[in-house]
Protein backbone atom coordinates (compact mmCIF):
# COMPACT_ATOMS: atom_id res chain seq x y z
CA UNK A 1 0.00 0.00 0.00
CA UNK A 2 1.42 3.37 -0.98
CA UNK A 3 1.74 6.06 1.68
CA UNK A 4 -0.64 8.98 1.37
CA UNK A 5 1.21 12.19 0.58
CA UNK A 6 0.67 14.86 3.21
CA UNK A 7 2.08 18.13 4.47
CA UNK A 8 3.58 16.27 7.44
CA UNK A 9 6.87 18.14 7.19
CA UNK A 10 5.03 21.40 7.87
CA UNK A 11 3.24 20.25 11.01
CA UNK A 12 4.25 21.74 14.33
CA UNK A 13 4.71 19.46 17.34
CA UNK A 14 3.65 21.19 20.55
CA UNK A 15 4.14 19.92 24.07
CA UNK A 16 0.82 20.66 25.77
CA UNK A 17 0.69 20.26 29.53
CA UNK A 18 -2.24 18.95 31.50
CA UNK A 19 -3.15 16.89 34.50
CA UNK A 20 -5.20 13.82 35.31
CA UNK A 21 -8.74 15.02 36.12
CA UNK A 22 -10.91 14.08 39.09
CA UNK A 23 -14.55 13.03 38.70
CA UNK A 24 -17.19 15.58 39.65
CA UNK A 25 -20.85 15.13 40.55
CA UNK A 26 -23.83 17.47 40.24
CA UNK A 27 -25.70 15.39 42.82
CA UNK A 28 -28.69 15.39 40.47
CA UNK A 29 -30.16 12.39 38.67
CA UNK A 30 -30.27 12.25 34.94
CA UNK A 31 -33.22 10.48 33.37
CA UNK A 32 -32.34 7.46 31.26
CA UNK A 33 -33.81 6.31 27.93
CA UNK A 34 -36.12 3.98 29.88
CA UNK A 35 -37.30 6.92 32.04
CA UNK A 36 -35.39 5.97 35.21
CA UNK A 37 -33.35 8.40 37.33
CA UNK A 38 -29.69 7.37 37.13
CA UNK A 39 -26.48 8.46 38.84
CA UNK A 40 -23.55 6.57 37.32
CA UNK A 41 -19.76 6.84 37.12
CA UNK A 42 -17.81 7.06 33.91
CA UNK A 43 -16.55 10.57 33.23
CA UNK A 44 -13.17 11.96 34.31
CA UNK A 45 -10.44 10.53 36.53
CA UNK A 46 -8.68 7.21 36.01
CA UNK A 47 -10.87 4.33 34.84
CA UNK A 48 -8.68 1.26 34.91
CA UNK A 49 -11.27 -1.25 33.74
CA UNK A 50 -12.71 0.53 30.71
CA UNK A 51 -10.14 0.18 27.95
CA UNK A 52 -9.81 0.69 24.23
CA UNK A 53 -11.06 -2.51 22.62
CA UNK A 54 -13.87 -3.08 25.16
CA UNK A 55 -17.50 -3.21 24.04
CA UNK A 56 -19.25 0.18 24.18
CA UNK A 57 -22.27 -1.61 25.69
CA UNK A 58 -20.45 -3.56 28.44
CA UNK A 59 -20.59 -1.11 31.35
CA UNK A 60 -23.12 0.38 33.79
CA UNK A 61 -21.73 3.82 33.11
CA UNK A 62 -22.49 7.36 31.96
CA UNK A 63 -20.28 8.16 28.95
CA UNK A 64 -17.65 5.71 30.27
CA UNK A 65 -14.26 7.10 29.32
CA UNK A 66 -11.41 4.60 28.87
CA UNK A 67 -8.16 4.92 30.85
CA UNK A 68 -7.04 8.39 31.87
CA UNK A 69 -9.14 11.54 31.36
CA UNK A 70 -6.85 14.58 31.20
CA UNK A 71 -7.63 18.29 31.45
CA UNK A 72 -5.86 21.62 31.17
CA UNK A 73 -5.02 23.45 34.39
CA UNK A 74 -7.18 26.49 33.62
CA UNK A 75 -9.97 27.06 31.09
CA UNK A 76 -7.80 28.48 28.31
CA UNK A 77 -5.23 25.71 28.72
CA UNK A 78 -8.05 23.18 28.70
CA UNK A 79 -9.27 24.53 25.36
CA UNK A 80 -5.72 24.19 24.02
CA UNK A 81 -5.22 20.57 25.10
CA UNK A 82 -8.73 19.72 23.83
CA UNK A 83 -8.19 21.21 20.40
CA UNK A 84 -4.52 20.37 19.83
CA UNK A 85 -4.42 16.76 21.06
CA UNK A 86 -5.00 14.32 18.20
CA UNK A 87 -5.82 10.61 18.24
CA UNK A 88 -2.57 8.63 18.20
CA UNK A 89 -0.44 11.36 19.83
CA UNK A 90 2.09 10.29 22.46
CA UNK A 91 1.65 11.30 26.11
CA UNK A 92 4.22 11.19 28.91
CA UNK A 93 3.49 11.37 32.65
CA UNK A 94 5.55 14.18 34.21
CA UNK A 95 4.78 13.61 37.90
CA UNK A 96 3.36 11.12 40.35
CA UNK A 97 4.09 7.47 40.91
CA UNK A 98 3.90 6.69 37.18
CA UNK A 99 6.24 9.53 36.16
CA UNK A 100 7.82 8.69 32.80
CA UNK A 101 5.05 6.31 31.73
CA UNK A 102 4.12 6.65 28.06
CA UNK A 103 0.53 6.54 26.79
CA UNK A 104 -1.51 7.27 23.66
CA UNK A 105 -4.33 9.71 22.97
CA UNK A 106 -7.27 7.48 22.04
CA UNK A 107 -10.11 9.99 22.00
CA UNK A 108 -11.64 13.20 23.25
CA UNK A 109 -14.74 13.93 25.27
CA UNK A 110 -14.95 16.88 27.64
CA UNK A 111 -11.46 15.56 28.52
CA UNK A 112 -8.58 14.19 26.48
CA UNK A 113 -8.76 10.39 26.77
CA UNK A 114 -5.44 8.55 27.11
CA UNK A 115 -4.66 4.85 27.28
CA UNK A 116 -1.68 3.68 29.35
CA UNK A 117 -0.44 0.13 29.96
CA UNK A 118 -2.46 -1.51 32.73
CA UNK A 119 0.44 -1.50 35.16
CA UNK A 120 0.70 2.29 34.82
CA UNK A 121 -3.07 2.84 35.06
CA UNK A 122 -2.94 1.30 38.55
CA UNK A 123 -0.38 3.93 39.65
CA UNK A 124 -1.73 7.08 37.95
CA UNK A 125 -3.64 9.42 40.30
CA UNK A 126 -5.90 12.44 39.72
CA UNK A 127 -3.74 15.56 39.78
CA UNK A 128 -0.66 13.89 38.26
CA UNK A 129 0.95 15.95 35.51
CA UNK A 130 1.35 14.88 31.89
CA UNK A 131 2.43 16.31 28.57
CA UNK A 132 0.85 15.57 25.17
CA UNK A 133 3.18 15.68 22.16
CA UNK A 134 0.40 17.27 20.10
CA UNK A 135 0.41 17.30 16.31
CA UNK A 136 -2.13 16.62 13.63
CA UNK A 137 -4.35 19.71 13.38
CA UNK A 138 -3.57 21.28 10.00
CA UNK A 139 -2.82 17.94 8.37
CA UNK A 140 -3.65 17.94 4.64
CA UNK A 141 -3.90 15.04 2.21
CA UNK A 142 -2.06 16.46 -0.80
CA UNK A 143 -3.71 14.20 -3.36
CA UNK A 144 -7.17 14.38 -1.73
CA UNK A 145 -7.61 18.08 -0.97
CA UNK A 146 -11.39 17.73 -0.48
CA UNK A 147 -10.91 15.19 2.31
CA UNK A 148 -10.64 17.31 5.45
CA UNK A 149 -8.59 15.89 8.33
CA UNK A 150 -9.49 16.64 11.96
CA UNK A 151 -8.01 15.30 15.22
CA UNK A 152 -6.05 12.62 13.36
CA UNK A 153 -2.47 12.26 14.57
CA UNK A 154 0.07 11.31 11.88
CA UNK A 155 0.63 8.18 13.99
CA UNK A 156 -2.95 7.09 13.20
CA UNK A 157 -3.27 8.38 9.64
CA UNK A 158 -0.48 6.15 8.36
CA UNK A 159 -2.12 3.07 9.93
CA UNK A 160 -5.76 3.66 8.97
CA UNK A 161 -5.31 1.59 5.83
CA UNK A 162 -6.62 4.33 3.53
CA UNK A 163 -5.85 3.85 -0.16
CA UNK A 164 -6.89 5.36 -3.48
CA UNK A 165 -9.84 3.46 -5.01
CA UNK A 166 -9.85 2.75 -8.76
CA UNK A 167 -12.40 5.55 -9.26
CA UNK A 168 -10.06 8.09 -7.67
CA UNK A 169 -11.81 8.32 -4.30
CA UNK A 170 -10.06 7.79 -1.00
CA UNK A 171 -11.11 4.38 0.32
CA UNK A 172 -11.30 4.14 4.12
CA UNK A 173 -11.86 0.83 5.97
CA UNK A 174 -14.46 1.05 8.77
CA UNK A 175 -16.26 -1.52 10.92
CA UNK A 176 -19.70 0.07 10.47
CA UNK A 177 -21.56 3.13 9.16
CA UNK A 178 -23.82 5.14 11.47
CA UNK A 179 -27.00 6.75 10.05
CA UNK A 180 -27.58 10.49 10.47
CA UNK A 181 -30.72 10.12 12.61
CA UNK A 182 -28.62 8.60 15.43
CA UNK A 183 -26.23 11.56 15.70
CA UNK A 184 -27.02 13.45 18.91
CA UNK A 185 -25.29 15.75 21.38
CA UNK A 186 -22.17 17.20 19.77
CA UNK A 187 -23.81 18.34 16.54
CA UNK A 188 -23.21 22.05 16.05
CA UNK A 189 -19.89 22.03 17.89
CA UNK A 190 -16.46 22.21 16.26
CA UNK A 191 -15.14 18.77 15.29
CA UNK A 192 -11.94 19.71 17.12
CA UNK A 193 -13.90 19.88 20.37
CA UNK A 194 -14.85 16.65 22.25
CA UNK A 195 -17.00 14.26 20.20
CA UNK A 196 -20.52 13.58 18.97
CA UNK A 197 -22.80 11.17 20.80
CA UNK A 198 -24.46 8.38 18.82
CA UNK A 199 -27.89 7.52 20.24
CA UNK A 200 -27.58 3.73 20.48
CA UNK A 201 -30.15 3.23 23.27
CA UNK A 202 -32.73 1.01 21.59
CA UNK A 203 -31.39 -2.56 21.40
CA UNK A 204 -33.62 -3.19 18.40
CA UNK A 205 -32.01 -0.30 16.49
CA UNK A 206 -28.54 -1.52 17.46
CA UNK A 207 -29.15 -5.08 16.29
CA UNK A 208 -31.02 -4.06 13.12
CA UNK A 209 -28.07 -1.92 12.07
CA UNK A 210 -25.54 -4.62 12.99
CA UNK A 211 -23.90 -2.42 15.63
CA UNK A 212 -23.96 -4.84 18.60
CA UNK A 213 -20.24 -5.53 18.31
CA UNK A 214 -19.04 -1.91 18.46
CA UNK A 215 -15.97 -1.39 20.64
CA UNK A 216 -14.23 1.65 22.07
CA UNK A 217 -11.51 2.56 19.56
CA UNK A 218 -13.37 1.26 16.51
CA UNK A 219 -13.04 3.26 13.28
CA UNK A 220 -16.55 3.98 11.96
CA UNK A 221 -18.21 5.88 9.13
CA UNK A 222 -21.01 8.44 9.55
CA UNK A 223 -23.50 8.92 6.70
CA UNK A 224 -24.81 12.35 5.65
CA UNK A 225 -22.39 14.24 7.89
CA UNK A 226 -20.16 17.23 7.08
CA UNK A 227 -17.82 17.90 10.00
CA UNK A 228 -15.42 20.40 8.42
CA UNK A 229 -16.58 23.49 10.29
CA UNK A 230 -18.66 22.10 13.18
CA UNK A 231 -20.53 18.82 12.96
CA UNK A 232 -23.75 18.85 11.00
CA UNK A 233 -26.25 16.97 8.85
CA UNK A 234 -25.44 17.19 5.14
CA UNK A 235 -26.80 14.61 2.70
CA UNK A 236 -24.07 13.67 0.23
CA UNK A 237 -21.25 13.96 2.75
CA UNK A 238 -19.48 11.39 4.88
CA UNK A 239 -17.43 11.57 8.05
CA UNK A 240 -15.08 9.02 9.58
CA UNK A 241 -14.43 8.81 13.30
CA UNK A 242 -13.14 6.78 16.21
CA UNK A 243 -15.42 5.61 19.06
CA UNK A 244 -14.12 7.38 22.14
CA UNK A 245 -16.30 6.31 25.07
CA UNK A 246 -18.91 3.79 26.18
CA UNK A 247 -22.66 4.45 26.35
CA UNK A 248 -24.38 7.23 28.23
CA UNK A 249 -27.95 6.35 29.29
CA UNK A 250 -29.63 9.73 28.73
CA UNK A 251 -31.65 10.26 25.52
CA UNK A 252 -29.78 12.41 23.03
CA UNK A 253 -26.47 11.06 24.35
CA UNK A 254 -24.77 7.69 23.84
CA UNK A 255 -21.47 6.46 22.41
CA UNK A 256 -19.02 9.27 21.52
CA UNK A 257 -17.37 9.45 18.11
CA UNK A 258 -14.34 11.69 17.44
CA UNK A 259 -14.13 12.93 13.87
CA UNK A 260 -10.92 12.19 11.95
CA UNK A 261 -11.93 12.67 8.29
CA UNK A 262 -14.84 14.29 6.42
CA UNK A 263 -15.47 14.65 2.69
CA UNK A 264 -18.13 14.77 -0.03
CA UNK A 265 -19.14 11.28 -1.19
CA UNK A 266 -17.49 11.87 -4.58
CA UNK A 267 -14.14 11.95 -2.81
CA UNK A 268 -14.43 9.34 -0.05
CA UNK A 269 -15.59 5.73 -0.06
CA UNK A 270 -16.21 3.64 3.05
CA UNK A 271 -15.10 0.05 2.88
CA UNK A 272 -16.51 -2.40 5.44
CA UNK A 273 -13.74 -4.19 7.34
CA UNK A 274 -14.24 -6.76 10.11
CA UNK A 275 -11.63 -5.34 12.50
CA UNK A 276 -10.54 -1.69 12.69
CA UNK A 277 -9.68 -0.83 16.28
CA UNK A 278 -7.09 1.53 17.73
CA UNK A 279 -5.78 -1.22 20.02
CA UNK A 280 -4.46 -3.10 16.97
CA UNK A 281 -3.88 -0.18 14.59
CA UNK A 282 -1.68 1.72 17.06
CA UNK A 283 -0.34 -1.42 18.76
CA UNK A 284 -1.41 -0.13 22.18
CA UNK A 285 -0.15 -2.47 24.95
CA UNK A 286 -2.69 -3.80 27.45
Amino acid sequence: MSELTTNLAQLVQVGVGGRVSHPGQSGSYSISYDDRPTMLPGMAGVTSNIRVGDSVFAFACDHGEPGVSAEGLVEREHLAIQVLACVGNRVTMTSGEAKGAVGTVVGKHAYVLIDFPGVDLMRITPGDGLVVRAWGQGLLLTEFPQVAVRNCGPELLSRLGCEPAPDGRLRVPVVATLPAELMGAGLGMSAEWANCDVMLHASETVSNLGLSGLRIGDVVGMADQDHRFARGYAPGWTAVGVLAHAMGPTPGHGVGVVTILTAPNECLELNRAPERNLRDLLEIPL
Binding site: L182, D226, F229, Y233
Partner: protein, 293 residues
Protein backbone atom coordinates in the same frame (compact mmCIF):
# COMPACT_ATOMS: atom_id res chain seq x y z
CA UNK B 1 -58.07 16.35 33.02
CA UNK B 2 -56.38 19.45 34.25
CA UNK B 3 -55.62 20.69 30.76
CA UNK B 4 -58.27 23.39 31.30
CA UNK B 5 -55.81 25.06 33.63
CA UNK B 6 -57.28 23.91 36.95
CA UNK B 7 -54.86 23.04 39.74
CA UNK B 8 -51.96 24.74 37.98
CA UNK B 9 -49.82 27.16 39.96
CA UNK B 10 -49.18 30.61 38.55
CA UNK B 11 -45.71 31.89 39.45
CA UNK B 12 -44.37 35.36 38.86
CA UNK B 13 -40.87 35.29 37.33
CA UNK B 14 -38.51 38.18 36.78
CA UNK B 15 -36.37 38.76 33.72
CA UNK B 16 -34.45 41.69 32.32
CA UNK B 17 -34.29 42.69 28.68
CA UNK B 18 -30.94 41.35 27.45
CA UNK B 19 -28.30 43.01 25.32
CA UNK B 20 -26.46 41.21 22.49
CA UNK B 21 -23.15 39.56 23.42
CA UNK B 22 -20.14 38.49 21.32
CA UNK B 23 -17.08 36.27 21.79
CA UNK B 24 -13.52 37.65 21.69
CA UNK B 25 -13.28 36.85 18.01
CA UNK B 26 -16.52 38.33 16.74
CA UNK B 27 -16.63 35.88 13.83
CA UNK B 28 -18.63 32.71 13.50
CA UNK B 29 -17.75 30.25 10.72
CA UNK B 30 -20.47 28.83 8.50
CA UNK B 31 -20.77 25.24 7.24
CA UNK B 32 -18.74 26.10 4.11
CA UNK B 33 -15.91 27.67 6.08
CA UNK B 34 -16.86 31.31 5.49
CA UNK B 35 -16.51 33.74 8.37
CA UNK B 36 -19.36 36.08 9.30
CA UNK B 37 -20.44 38.32 12.16
CA UNK B 38 -23.57 36.88 13.80
CA UNK B 39 -26.47 39.23 14.56
CA UNK B 40 -29.96 38.49 15.77
CA UNK B 41 -29.75 37.15 19.34
CA UNK B 42 -30.17 39.19 22.48
CA UNK B 43 -31.79 42.58 23.06
CA UNK B 44 -34.65 43.97 20.98
CA UNK B 45 -35.44 43.26 17.30
CA UNK B 46 -37.74 46.02 16.05
CA UNK B 47 -38.54 44.49 12.66
CA UNK B 48 -38.62 40.72 13.24
CA UNK B 49 -41.99 39.35 14.34
CA UNK B 50 -43.67 36.06 14.98
CA UNK B 51 -45.49 35.13 11.74
CA UNK B 52 -42.61 36.20 9.49
CA UNK B 53 -40.33 33.77 7.62
CA UNK B 54 -37.65 31.88 9.53
CA UNK B 55 -35.39 32.31 6.47
CA UNK B 56 -34.00 35.18 4.47
CA UNK B 57 -32.69 37.33 7.29
CA UNK B 58 -29.11 38.66 7.16
CA UNK B 59 -28.82 37.24 10.65
CA UNK B 60 -28.11 34.06 12.57
CA UNK B 61 -30.84 32.35 14.63
CA UNK B 62 -32.70 35.65 14.67
CA UNK B 63 -35.14 36.01 17.55
CA UNK B 64 -38.47 37.83 17.04
CA UNK B 65 -39.42 40.64 19.43
CA UNK B 66 -37.33 40.97 22.57
CA UNK B 67 -35.42 38.50 24.73
CA UNK B 68 -35.20 38.45 28.50
CA UNK B 69 -33.11 36.58 31.06
CA UNK B 70 -32.48 36.71 34.80
CA UNK B 71 -28.87 37.60 35.71
CA UNK B 72 -28.84 35.04 38.56
CA UNK B 73 -28.08 31.63 37.02
CA UNK B 74 -30.44 29.54 39.21
CA UNK B 75 -33.26 32.09 38.82
CA UNK B 76 -32.69 32.09 35.07
CA UNK B 77 -33.07 28.30 35.01
CA UNK B 78 -36.45 28.74 36.69
CA UNK B 79 -37.43 31.54 34.29
CA UNK B 80 -36.39 29.34 31.35
CA UNK B 81 -38.16 26.26 32.69
CA UNK B 82 -41.44 27.67 34.05
CA UNK B 83 -42.17 30.20 31.30
CA UNK B 84 -44.70 28.81 28.87
CA UNK B 85 -45.55 29.88 25.33
CA UNK B 86 -48.60 32.11 25.54
CA UNK B 87 -47.94 33.34 29.11
CA UNK B 88 -48.67 37.03 29.71
CA UNK B 89 -45.70 39.33 30.33
CA UNK B 90 -45.68 42.85 31.77
CA UNK B 91 -42.91 45.44 31.52
CA UNK B 92 -42.26 46.75 35.03
CA UNK B 93 -39.58 49.42 34.60
CA UNK B 94 -38.22 51.84 32.01
CA UNK B 95 -40.07 53.87 29.39
CA UNK B 96 -42.27 50.94 28.34
CA UNK B 97 -43.44 50.20 31.90
CA UNK B 98 -47.00 48.90 31.92
CA UNK B 99 -46.86 47.37 28.45
CA UNK B 100 -48.33 43.89 28.18
CA UNK B 101 -47.20 41.14 25.82
CA UNK B 102 -46.69 37.39 25.72
CA UNK B 103 -44.06 34.67 25.68
CA UNK B 104 -43.45 33.31 22.16
CA UNK B 105 -40.63 30.87 22.91
CA UNK B 106 -37.42 30.00 24.71
CA UNK B 107 -33.94 29.86 23.19
CA UNK B 108 -31.04 27.94 24.73
CA UNK B 109 -27.54 28.28 23.30
CA UNK B 110 -25.33 25.41 24.49
CA UNK B 111 -22.53 26.84 26.62
CA UNK B 112 -24.07 30.28 26.11
CA UNK B 113 -27.40 31.68 27.15
CA UNK B 114 -30.94 30.70 28.08
CA UNK B 115 -33.37 33.41 27.03
CA UNK B 116 -37.16 33.78 27.04
CA UNK B 117 -38.53 35.44 23.89
CA UNK B 118 -41.40 37.89 24.21
CA UNK B 119 -43.73 39.72 21.86
CA UNK B 120 -44.86 43.27 22.68
CA UNK B 121 -46.88 45.85 20.74
CA UNK B 122 -44.59 47.86 18.40
CA UNK B 123 -45.00 51.09 20.37
CA UNK B 124 -43.82 49.34 23.54
CA UNK B 125 -40.93 47.68 21.69
CA UNK B 126 -39.76 51.12 20.51
CA UNK B 127 -39.56 52.28 24.14
CA UNK B 128 -37.91 49.14 25.52
CA UNK B 129 -34.24 49.12 26.54
CA UNK B 130 -31.78 46.47 27.79
CA UNK B 131 -32.01 45.92 31.59
CA UNK B 132 -35.70 46.92 31.72
CA UNK B 133 -37.48 44.56 34.10
CA UNK B 134 -40.16 42.26 32.70
CA UNK B 135 -42.30 39.86 34.70
CA UNK B 136 -43.71 36.62 33.29
CA UNK B 137 -46.99 35.36 34.73
CA UNK B 138 -45.87 31.78 34.37
CA UNK B 139 -48.51 29.09 34.27
CA UNK B 140 -48.56 25.79 32.41
CA UNK B 141 -45.91 23.58 34.02
CA UNK B 142 -47.75 20.57 35.36
CA UNK B 143 -50.29 20.54 32.58
CA UNK B 144 -51.28 16.99 31.58
CA UNK B 145 -53.85 15.51 29.25
CA UNK B 146 -55.73 12.98 31.35
CA UNK B 147 -57.18 11.28 28.28
CA UNK B 148 -53.72 10.73 26.73
CA UNK B 149 -51.23 10.07 29.55
CA UNK B 150 -48.48 8.99 27.13
CA UNK B 151 -48.19 12.60 25.94
CA UNK B 152 -45.87 14.90 27.94
CA UNK B 153 -46.47 18.64 27.81
CA UNK B 154 -43.76 21.28 28.18
CA UNK B 155 -43.79 25.09 28.02
CA UNK B 156 -47.45 25.04 27.00
CA UNK B 157 -49.71 27.64 28.60
CA UNK B 158 -53.40 26.91 29.27
CA UNK B 159 -54.19 29.89 27.00
CA UNK B 160 -52.31 28.33 24.09
CA UNK B 161 -53.83 24.89 24.83
CA UNK B 162 -57.33 26.32 24.68
CA UNK B 163 -56.83 28.38 21.50
CA UNK B 164 -54.93 25.66 19.68
CA UNK B 165 -57.57 23.15 20.86
CA UNK B 166 -55.91 19.75 20.32
CA UNK B 167 -58.50 17.00 20.18
CA UNK B 168 -58.25 13.83 22.28
CA UNK B 169 -59.87 10.76 20.82
CA UNK B 170 -59.40 7.02 21.36
CA UNK B 171 -56.21 7.47 23.37
CA UNK B 172 -54.58 9.79 20.86
CA UNK B 173 -54.11 13.53 20.66
CA UNK B 174 -54.80 15.18 17.30
CA UNK B 175 -52.84 18.43 16.93
CA UNK B 176 -52.75 21.08 14.20
CA UNK B 177 -49.28 21.74 12.77
CA UNK B 178 -47.98 23.71 9.78
CA UNK B 179 -45.42 21.02 8.86
CA UNK B 180 -44.21 17.56 9.77
CA UNK B 181 -40.42 17.18 9.66
CA UNK B 182 -38.21 14.06 9.78
CA UNK B 183 -36.10 13.60 12.92
CA UNK B 184 -32.84 13.23 10.99
CA UNK B 185 -32.80 17.03 10.57
CA UNK B 186 -32.56 17.70 14.33
CA UNK B 187 -29.18 19.11 15.35
CA UNK B 188 -27.93 20.89 18.45
CA UNK B 189 -30.37 20.57 21.33
CA UNK B 190 -30.17 16.76 21.47
CA UNK B 191 -29.68 15.36 24.97
CA UNK B 192 -30.92 18.51 26.69
CA UNK B 193 -33.75 19.02 29.18
CA UNK B 194 -37.03 19.15 27.31
CA UNK B 195 -38.69 21.71 29.60
CA UNK B 196 -35.97 24.29 28.98
CA UNK B 197 -34.04 23.65 25.80
CA UNK B 198 -34.63 24.61 22.22
CA UNK B 199 -33.77 22.17 19.42
CA UNK B 200 -32.48 23.05 15.97
CA UNK B 201 -33.73 21.99 12.54
CA UNK B 202 -30.59 21.79 10.38
CA UNK B 203 -31.10 23.36 6.96
CA UNK B 204 -27.82 23.40 5.03
CA UNK B 205 -28.20 23.53 1.24
CA UNK B 206 -27.76 19.74 0.97
CA UNK B 207 -30.65 19.20 3.43
CA UNK B 208 -32.94 21.72 1.68
CA UNK B 209 -32.42 19.84 -1.58
CA UNK B 210 -33.89 16.78 0.17
CA UNK B 211 -36.52 18.63 2.24
CA UNK B 212 -37.41 21.81 0.26
CA UNK B 213 -40.61 22.39 2.27
CA UNK B 214 -38.46 23.49 5.22
CA UNK B 215 -37.95 26.85 3.46
CA UNK B 216 -41.62 27.65 4.14
CA UNK B 217 -41.09 27.58 7.92
CA UNK B 218 -42.26 30.75 9.69
CA UNK B 219 -41.54 32.05 13.16
CA UNK B 220 -44.41 30.85 15.33
CA UNK B 221 -45.24 27.81 13.19
CA UNK B 222 -46.33 24.67 15.01
CA UNK B 223 -44.32 21.74 13.65
CA UNK B 224 -44.14 18.00 14.32
CA UNK B 225 -40.87 16.04 14.39
CA UNK B 226 -41.03 12.30 13.73
CA UNK B 227 -38.89 9.64 15.45
CA UNK B 228 -37.94 12.08 18.18
CA UNK B 229 -38.85 12.14 21.86
CA UNK B 230 -38.79 14.75 24.60
CA UNK B 231 -40.54 13.21 27.61
CA UNK B 232 -37.64 14.31 29.85
CA UNK B 233 -34.58 14.77 27.64
CA UNK B 234 -34.47 15.31 23.90
CA UNK B 235 -33.36 12.40 21.72
CA UNK B 236 -34.00 9.92 18.94
CA UNK B 237 -36.75 7.37 19.58
CA UNK B 238 -38.17 5.46 16.67
CA UNK B 239 -41.95 5.74 16.47
CA UNK B 240 -42.27 8.67 18.92
CA UNK B 241 -42.98 12.20 17.83
CA UNK B 242 -42.90 15.68 19.30
CA UNK B 243 -44.50 19.00 18.50
CA UNK B 244 -42.82 22.33 18.93
CA UNK B 245 -43.15 25.96 17.94
CA UNK B 246 -40.60 27.77 15.75
CA UNK B 247 -38.94 30.34 18.00
CA UNK B 248 -35.91 31.61 16.06
CA UNK B 249 -34.66 31.83 12.50
CA UNK B 250 -32.22 29.75 10.48
CA UNK B 251 -28.48 29.48 10.95
CA UNK B 252 -25.47 29.15 8.66
CA UNK B 253 -23.50 27.28 11.34
CA UNK B 254 -23.24 23.50 10.84
CA UNK B 255 -25.45 21.53 13.23
CA UNK B 256 -27.54 24.63 14.00
CA UNK B 257 -30.72 25.89 12.36
CA UNK B 258 -34.31 26.97 12.87
CA UNK B 259 -35.08 26.69 16.60
CA UNK B 260 -38.05 24.99 18.23
CA UNK B 261 -39.37 25.17 21.78
CA UNK B 262 -40.89 21.82 22.70
CA UNK B 263 -44.61 21.80 23.54
CA UNK B 264 -45.60 18.13 23.38
CA UNK B 265 -43.95 14.73 23.16
CA UNK B 266 -45.80 11.48 22.58
CA UNK B 267 -44.72 7.86 22.78
CA UNK B 268 -45.70 5.55 19.96
CA UNK B 269 -48.53 6.96 17.84
CA UNK B 270 -50.19 8.91 20.67
CA UNK B 271 -49.58 12.28 18.94
CA UNK B 272 -51.21 12.69 15.54
CA UNK B 273 -50.18 15.82 13.61
CA UNK B 274 -52.83 17.28 11.33
CA UNK B 275 -51.54 19.64 8.64
CA UNK B 276 -53.02 23.13 8.74
CA UNK B 277 -51.20 26.08 7.13
CA UNK B 278 -52.76 28.41 9.74
CA UNK B 279 -51.10 26.56 12.63
CA UNK B 280 -49.03 29.58 13.65
CA UNK B 281 -48.99 31.45 16.98
CA UNK B 282 -50.24 34.64 15.32
CA UNK B 283 -53.43 32.98 14.08
CA UNK B 284 -53.90 30.69 17.07
CA UNK B 285 -53.44 33.38 19.74
CA UNK B 286 -54.84 36.22 17.62
CA UNK B 287 -51.77 38.42 18.10
CA UNK B 288 -52.75 41.91 16.93
CA UNK B 289 -50.95 43.78 14.12
CA UNK B 290 -48.90 40.74 13.03
CA UNK B 291 -49.26 39.23 9.59
CA UNK B 292 -48.46 35.62 8.92
CA UNK B 293 -46.10 35.57 5.90
Amino acid sequence: MNSEGRELVQTLLLGEVTSPELETSVYEVDSEGRAFVPIGCGGVRYNVKVGMSAFGWAADQVQPGASIANPVAAANRALSTYSCVGNRVRVRSGNAAGAVGLVTGKHERFGGFQQVLIDLPQQALELLAPRDRVVVEAVGRGLVVDAVPTVSLHSLSPRLWQSWSPRASEGKLFVRVAQSIPGRTVGIGSGRISATTSISIQTPKQALDREPQLLRLRLGDMVAISDWDAAYNTGYRKGSSLIGVVVHGSSRIAGHGVGLTILMSGRGDSLVPELDPDANLVSILGIQDHIVG
